[in-house]
Each structure stands twice: as C-alpha cells, then as structure tokens.
Amino acid sequence: MNGLALDIAHLLAGSMVLVSFLLLYQDRMFALLNIFALQAIVLSASIAWQAYIQDAPHLYVPALIALLLKGIVIPLALRRVVIKLGIHREIETVVGIGPTMLLGIGLVALSMVIMLKATSTADPLAREDLAFALSVLLLGLLMMVTRRNAVSQIIGFMSLENGLILAATGAKGMPLVVEISIAFSVLVAFIVIGIFLFRIRERFDTVELEALDASRGERP
C-alpha cells in the first residue's frame, strides 16, 4: 500500500470532520440539509476509496447506499418535511456558535489523543481513520445536544451514524452485513422520526422540543 493511497484516505476522512464542523456552524435549515448531503457524498467517496485500496469490492455496496440514501433521498425528504412544516427560518442554537466550535475542536483533539494511544499497535491506516470517525461521531452528538429543533437533531443523529460507518469501513475485514444493516437501520430510524415529527407538529403546532417538556408537566 503506497503513501498516496493512505494520504487520499486521510484526506477523505479528514474532509468528513471538516464537513461536520460546517454542520455545527450552519444555522440555516436548507443550508444544513445541503451540507448533510455533502457529508454523505464525502462518506460515500471515502467508503469507495477504502473499497479500492483494501481490494474489497463488497464495500462498494455501502458506498452506493450512502450516496443514494443519505446523499439524495434523505436530504430531499427532509427538505419536503421542512417546507411542509414551514420552518425554513433561522435555527436558534442553545450555545453560541463560537463556544460550540471551540468545544468541537476540543472533541477532535480528544479523539485524536485517545485513538493514537489506544491503537498504537494497529494498522496505521485504520488508526487515523478511527480517530477521524470518532471525531465525526462526537461532533454529531455535540450537534444533537446544542440544537433545539427536531429536524436539526435528526441531522445530528445521521451525522453521528456517518461516523460509525466511517469507522466500520476503515477497519479491515468488517463483514458487509454490518455496514448494510447500519445503513438500513438509519433509514428505518429516519422514517420513524419523520412520522413522529408530523405527529408532534399536529399536536403541539411546533417542533421545538421545549413544547414536549411542557406537555410532560415539568413546566407550567
């Protein structure tokens, strides 16, 4: 395996992290969807590259799934949802953008430290990949924590899951079944969450999560 192949794999995985930061920064709904689509496309490219350098043709299947499902179907569907719900206005973030970005940088540093330490004996390709994947995962979780809107929480969840897939494909010899099942479980989660979104909207006239708290009786 030559150096160039490694470098390209790193470039793609690193781009995933970069796109995660874009997601974290973005506070407009449609732009958020577009960036999520971009992340899915980068993910797909990364998986495809892994398939190429690991000489594992079965990995092209998850790459295709990621491209079609997450790059096209889910963003389009979410766009329809957003239009239907009429929430294409600005997103309020709980913590300011600046502190969130700083926190994100800290998380990336943390995952680098941990992964480089924990996998000192592993294959160098997998090592870097795992560190990037963990960063993407943590950034997705951070996004879920800092956003109020249910749609952007879905985006956060999907981006977290992208990190999982990145980790799974980066490691050699992971069975295809695992990747595919992750991809489909996310699709199912998307459908379920989508239905719930409409149900919530029907009942509370909003998809802000605070409304749910009020209905549980904690706030007057």
Binding site: V94, L107, L110, S111, V113, I114, K117, A118, L138, L141, L142, M144, V145, R148, L209, E210, L212, D213, R216, E218
Partner: protein, 672 residues
C-alpha cells in the same frame, strides 16, 4: 473415597427428605418421619467425620469431582481433617436438633413452613464443609443461608419476625458478596476456582490484606462478629427453637470453618496485622455480646447475644493462633487453635442445650419474656436441671467443658511474652483481661437468666401452670448435657482428636494428652500448668457429699417446717422479687452507661397525686444507631437527590449521555 461417598449419600438423603416432607404433607406422622430421617443422616455424617478424625494421621484426603454444576468446573469435593472435625461438630448438633424436633415440632402451628427446609439446611451446611472449589462453596453457603432464612420466616405473621427476616436476608447477601470478592481475589486474574489452585497462588501484601478483611466480613457476618452481628439477635430467636439451636450452635461454626479455611488454609501467609485485627474484633465482640445478653429481657435473644460472645472467644483463639504462627511458634499456635476449635465444639453443645431448654420453656409457658417467667424449677425439674448444666458449662465453671476451652485460651494468652512484636506484647494481655471480663459477665448473665426463669416464684399465670415437656425433647437435652460433662471430665482424648486437624493447618499439634495419668491435660509443660477435670469433679462431689452429711449429722437431723423469711417484704406479690432489669442493674450502671447508653429515669407523680412513681429504663444499641440506622437515611437522601434526574428535558438527557461519554474518554486519555 468411600467415606466421602457415604457422606454424599447422606447429604442426598437429606435432600430427599426435604422433598419427602413436601410430598407427605397429608401424613399425620410426617413430623416424626422427617426428623428421624434427618437424625439418621446426621448420625451417618457424624460417623464419617469421626472415622476420618480417628484414622487421621497419614490418610490421604478423600477427593471427588462430580460432573454437575458449571460445565467446565464441575463440583470438587474433598474431606480433609479440618472438614472432618467440623463435620463431626455440625452433625452432632444436627442430630440433637433433629431428635428435639421430633417432640418440639409437634407444637408447630405450620409445620409445612419448617419441615421441608430443616433437612435442606443441614445438607447445605454439610456441603459447605465438603466443597473444594469456590463455586460450590458459595452455592452451598447461599443455600444454607436461604434455607435458614425460610425457617426464620416460619412465623411470618409477627411483624418482628418479618423485620428479622429482612435484616437477615440483607446481611446474608452482604456477607456472600464479601466472600465472592474474597474468592475472586484468591483466584487472581488468571486463577481457577478450585481450592487446590488457590492454595498455590501467591499474593502481595495489599491483596492478602484485602482477602483477610473480606473473609473477616464475609464469614464474620455469618458468625456474628461485632459490628456485623446486627441480624443475629433478631433472626436466631425468631426461628423455632430447634432451628435457633441449629443456627446459633451450628451455623456459626460453619462460618468459623469458612474463616479458618480461607485465612489459614487458602491464603497462605496473612499480612502481619492480621492477628491484631482478629484479636481486637474478637475481644470487642466478646464483651459487647455478653453485655447485651446481660441487658436482654427475652430469653432466646439473650442466648443469641451470648452466641456473639462465644464467637468472640473463638475468634480470640484464632487471632492468637495467627499471632503465634506468624512468629514461628508452632507449639503455641497449635495450643491457641486447639482452644478455638475446642470452644467451637463446646459452644455448639451447650448452646444447643440452652436453646432446647428455652424451647421447652416456650412450649410449657408460651413466654420468652424473663419478667413473665419464674419458679419453673418446681414444675419442670428435669428441664431446670439440664438448663442449669448448660448454664454452668457456658459460664465456664469447672468441671464442665466450657472451662477447659477457655482455660486453654488463657494458657495461650499467657504465652504472649514470648512474642517479639511490641504491638502484640501489649495487646495480648489486654485481650486476656477482656476475655476474663467476658467470662465473668457471662457467668453473671447466666446466674441472672437461670435465677429469673427457674427460681423464685412465677411472675405470670402461664409460668405457674407450666408442665414438663415431652420425652423426645428431654432426651435431646440430656445428650448435649452429658457430652458437656464428659468433655469437661475427659478433655485429653478430645484434644488428641483435634490434634490432626490442627497439625494439618499449623504443622504442629499439642502434645498427646491421652497417655497422661488420670486424664490430666498439660498444654505446654507440667511445671507451667495442668488441669484435671476428673479430679475437680471428684473433689466437688466428695466434698459436697461430706458437707451435706456433716450438716445433717451435726447441725440438725430433724426436718423443721417454718415460714420462709420474706426478705422484709410481707407482700406476697411476685413483683417483689428480682426482675430481669433489676438483676442486671449493678452491671448496667458500671458498664452499660457509655457502651449501651443505658439511661434510668424515675418519673415522680405531681404532688398530691396518688399515682405511683414510674421507673423507666432506656437502652440504645449504639452500633445499630451509628452504623446501620444511617444507611437507609443516606439512601433515602441520595434517592431524593437523584430523583431530579427523572424529570429532565430530552436535550438534558442527551447532554448527560454526551457528558458521560466525554468524561469517560477523557479518563481514557489521561490514564497512564
């Protein structure tokens, strides 16, 4: 091999009896069938134990592996000298309790709650002794606890019993957890659960210390060491009396066995402070146990507290053995361990006897409260005589057996100047003083118990109408009483029988005593000390006979009838006698003021009122208040605080998960 097979067959028989007890629930003579079968199995197991002890030297340990239990482990069984000794002790007590049960069980209102568990309990205790791997040890230990718990709960209609059962279950679970951790540490990270591999393991000082502490907690909570004794005075008396006898006299010995097995056998070299810890815990247990027994009004609870004291005495013996062993003084260590084992045997005998006696009193009067008993010596003369024998034995009066083992313990204490460490040099004589105090208080305690229950005039109508109990119960009481006397008169053969057990643990044993003339025992050297129970007995008997004869011959031959001296109280009410509280008042004022928070108050009526003044006595269990009572408070307070986490918003929950993940990752990053 064959002896182990017989033992296993007997244990299987006990289990079968358990099932039989359920199957025969319609049979009117079920009680007799079940207890007789249990007694037979006990006899067989007793014989196995005694034979192994008799043929001990040179015989290889019987080993067996059964292919049941965990798939790759099976059940390892082994009978060495230590298990054989305890097998004998336990089945002797089990046999007595079974015979007693034949008579006593007839009075049981709901025999279905006791009968199936009684043989199972015996089987569990025997299996603990034979277990040779941690898994089967723990399973049998837990089985023993649960079977006894079921019998404690036999009279579950009473709220007090339910509370006792609850506390017992908690403490048993806690003790088993400690034992589980002990075995985990003994096995080490790569170890195997079989005892034979544990014995070979090496332990550094920290893990050896942890093993010692955990074993002391695990076995000590079952034995009743202070401060883990809280359940014992609740649970032991709550069970039917023959079960109380088993729990107090026998199950605590299983706990002692567990401690000896882990600390002396499996651990190898305990840390240097092991003896200090065991000695201190043992002496505190002895004094606190007997002091609370002295304050107690309930006869069975009094006996349970006295069990705690005797466990303290046994652990003092074990602590001395540890101290001598660590300083390479095998002869002294053998003496101390012999004393501890002898006392374990003695305690199982006289505590069974006393619980049988209290059961007889309970059957005859339905009373356990000392202040509602009295004068039973006239209505239950045989029980009274046997209870007296038990009281004398437990008070360590020569020529009975209690004296011998306590005397041996004192002989071991007196060897302490030879120990090089200053800590032990200072501590051991203090322990000796505490032991003497405990022995004296125990004597006072049983003078009070016997005097109030059997002497004087009856304090209630029930006590006045008591009748003697059935002959099975009496026979069951005669046996331990006789054995108490025999063990006191002929301690030499018993010490020799314990010898191989001690040799297998310490590597040395006490000098052979049987060869000495007149059944004298000489623990160390004749110039130092010797004791002869038989001569003491003969002296007491002959001098008493002579005194009686002389008095009758020279003082007055005629029988005169005259009004008894009324001590200045012309009122014939039984209330003018000593009560349970007043009999212990002097000792309470001296010792219990700070230890048990005894407070006496006299409430005077207002001037002009004709009401009587009232005397109130308040006692506080300091250990319960400082250690146990705060636990539920802390749990409730923290639960209240944690309750807030139940009403978070979805985002806050997510943040919690996120924060937990990040903190764990940070920990991982910082971890060296």
């Amino acid at each position: 091999m064959t002896s182990l097979a017989i033992a296993l067959a007997s244990i299987a028989g006990l289990f079968a009896t358990s099932i039989l007890a359920v199957a025969l629930s319609k049979l009117p003579s079920r009680n007799r069938v079940v207890y007789s079968a249990a007694a037979l199995a006990c006899i067989a197991l007793l014989a196995v134990g005694l034979l192994r002890l008799g043929a001990a030297n040179g015989e290889a340990d019987a080993v067996m592996t059964l292919p049941i239990g965990l798939p790759w482990l099976g059940i390892h069984l082994r009978m060495d000298a230590l298990s054989a000794f305890f097998l004998a002790v336990i089945n002797l007590g089990g046999f007595g309790a079974s015979i007693y049960g034949i008579g006593y069980g007839e009075h049981e209102e709901s025999p279905g709650r006791v009968l199936p568990f009684f043989p199972a309990f015996l089987a569990g205790m025997n299996l603990v002794l034979l277990a040779d791997d941690a898994f089967s040890f723990l399973v049998s230990w837990e089985f023993m606890s649960l079977a006894s718990w079921a019998m404690v709960m036999a009279h579950h209609q009473e709220a007090e019993t339910r509370r006792a059962g609850y506390v017992y279950l908690l403490m048993a679970g806690f003790g088993s957890l400690a034992l589980l951790l002990t075995f985990g540490l003994l096995a080490g990270p790569t170890g195997h659960y079989a005892f034979i591999t544990m014995r070979a393991g090496e332990h550094d000082t920290i893990s050896a210390g942890l093993i010692l502490i955990l074993a002391l907690i695990g076995a000590g909570s079952k034995a009743g060491l202070v401060p883990l004794h809280a359940w014992l005075p609740l649970a032991h008396p709550a069970a039917p009396s023959h079960v109380s006898a088993l729990m107090s006299g026998v199950m605590t010995k299983v706990a002692v066995y567990g401690f000896i097995r882990i600390v002396f056998d499996l651990l190898g070299t305990p840390p240097w402070w092991a003896s200090l810890l065991v000695l201190i815990v043992g002496s505190v247990t002895a004094v606190l146990g007997v002091l609370q027994a002295l304050m107690e009004r309930d006869l069975k609870r009094l006996l349970a507290y006295s069990t705690i004291e005797n466990i303290g005495v046994i652990f003092i013996g074990l602590g001395l053995a540890l101290a001598f062993q660590e300083n390479a003084m095998p002869a002294a260590a053998a003496l101390a361990l012999t004393a501890a084992l002898f006392h374990a045997l003695n305690h199982s005998l006289f505590k069974s006897l006393l619980f049988f006696g209290s059961g007889a009193v309970l059957t005859a009067t339905h009373e356990r409260d000392l202040d509602r008993l009295g004068g039973l010596i006239h209505r239950m003369p045989v029980t009274a005589f046997l209870f007296l024998a038990g009281s004398m034995a437990i008070s360590a009066l020569p020529p009975l057996n209690g004296f011998v083992s306590e005397w041996l313990t004192f002989q071991a204490v007196l060897l302490s100047p030879n120990i090089p460490q200053w800590s032990l040099k200072v501590l051991v004589p203090a322990v000796g003083g505490v032991l003497a105090l405990a022995a004296a208080l125990a004597a006072a305690c049983f003078v009070r118990a016997y005097g109030i229950v059997f002497l004087g005039r009856p304090r209630s109508a029930a006590a006045a109408k008591a009748v003697e109990v059935d002959r099975y119960s009496l026979a069951a009481m005669v046996m331990p009483a006789l054995l108490c006397l025999l063990a006191g008169l002929f301690p030499g053969p018993i010490i020799d029988a314990i010898g191989p057990t001690v040799r297998s643990i310490i590597g040395a044993q006490m000098p052979v005593q049987s060869a000495l003339p007149w059944y004298t025992i000489i623990p160390i050297a004749e110039s130092r000390s010797s004791y002869n129970g038989l001569l003491v007995f003969l002296f007491i008997t002959i001098s008493t006979l002579i005194a009686v004869e002389v008095l009758h011959r020279f003082a007055s031959r005629a029988v005169r009838r005259a009004p008894a001296w009324d001590c200045g109280y012309p009122d014939p009410s039984p209330l003018t006698q000593y009560s349970a509280a007043s009999a212990s008042q002097p000792i309470r004022r001296v010792f219990a003021g700070s230890l048990l928070h005894a407070r006496e108050t006299v409430e005077m009526p207002p001037p002009g009122s004709s009401e009587p003044a009232r005397f109130r006595l308040a006692l506080k269990d300091v250990i319960w208040e400082t250690i146990y009572a705060p636990i539920p408070r802390v749990i409730a307070a923290s639960a209240l605080r944690l309750d807030r986490f139940q009403f978070l918003t979805i985002r806050q929950y997510l943040s919690l998960v996120f924060a937990a993940l990040v903190i764990l990752l940070l920990g991982l990053a910082i971890w060296p």
